[in-house]
Amino acid sequence: MEFVDYYKILAVDEDADSKAIKTAYRKLARKYHPDVSEHQEAEEKFKQVTEAYEVLKDPEKRAQYDEYRKYGSRISGREDGRYRSREFEGDFSGFSDFFSSIFGGAGPRGSSQRESYGFTSQQAFNQRGQDIETDMPIFLEDTLADATKTISYQLPHREADGNIREINRTLNVKIPAGVANGERIRLKGQGGQGIGSAENGDLYLRIRLVPHPLFDVEAHNLIITVPLAPWEAALGASIEVPTLTGKIKLTIPANSQTGQRLRIKGKGLVRKQGHGDLYAVLKVVMPSDTSREVKAQWQQLASSAAFDPRNEWSK
């Protein structure tokens, strides 16, 4: 088991007073709180910081820890190698093995424990099962009509001996047409098992729209970037454009510009009522290699068009 340096985690000196420790903790807790931070290891960091503070804020625990830190080898010779003080038997689930080895208490039982708050021992015999939240990736095509999807998720399961083990569960779920990114769908009773006569927790599916190779999503509208040859933009054209439900014909007006948006009504995502629109954003692209003849024609165009695209600059 690895030694955990709580002082290093909170970035405080060994002789820091309780005020300095509190300030350091608050600063880091705000920085790494999983609800606030985008940091990749936010949750892990937050746990470490909380654990460090749990020890260093308490003079008695801190003294024990300091002793261990100094004379670690001597302590491991005692009885079972751990202090078993009554005051320290709290709910320290999620803390490291290192913490449990010094202060006792349960080992990590998963971060979800942070979801449960203040049950009295009497309530604990009838405790509602834990709610589970899981991501549900959905392709844009699958949001157009009601779709049945299979999901697998992990569920904490209480064994006959009282131990909690993660089990895999698979469900068929109906995803209603028109779901939006970030929307949560509740499946009642499909979460963690209730204790005693209490009901099961619920399962929440957090909808994540999978990025599409062609379409970007803007609320209920879709955007597709349409490459055009310079002459198509200049002369206008009739082209085929893909939509989520097959190709359609689109008329490009003459003298179109890069960045111009053409609205294709009703070809966006499904809303609770009606459809969003598809926007074709035009992008004029140059051919990558040109023959001598084509180049000659460009030169001819350059001299006859008398076009100054930087006209604005000379004003």
Binding site: D35, V36, K174, R186, D216
Partner: protein, 98 residues
């Protein structure tokens, strides 16, 4: 499909919070249920997750409810802006690449 709405009592049950705390969270505008009084309040699934987030911030960071209200609205704004930024970057990429 299951009901995607919760009444006041159900929200207390699933968040394991006393009614007074929920009332306080609503009073601070952290969540805004449909309906005018606790008897008719209806909460959606998003409000459940906001309530849980508010509670975690309240417990873990020792922030009072008005601070939570500010933090949550700023976090939501940040999330929207990040989303928009991601979207604009994706669109920009389609323009400058290939």
């Amino acid at each position: 499909m299951e009901s995607q709405y919760f009444n006041f009592q159900e929200l207390c049950t699933i968040t394991a919070l006393p009614s007074q705390t929920i009332i306080e969270i609503v009073d601070h505008g952290i969540i805004e249920p449909e309906g005018n009084d606790p008897e008719t309040w209806l909460f959606n699934t998003r409000m459940v997750s906001v309530t849980r987030k508010a509670l975690r911030l309240h417990n873990d960071l020792d922030i009072d409810w008005s601070g939570i209200a500010l933090a949550i609205s700023l976090l939501e704004e940040l999330e929207e802006i990040r989303q928009e930024n991601k979207q604009l970057k994706a669109q920009l990429n389609r323009f400058i690449v290939g």
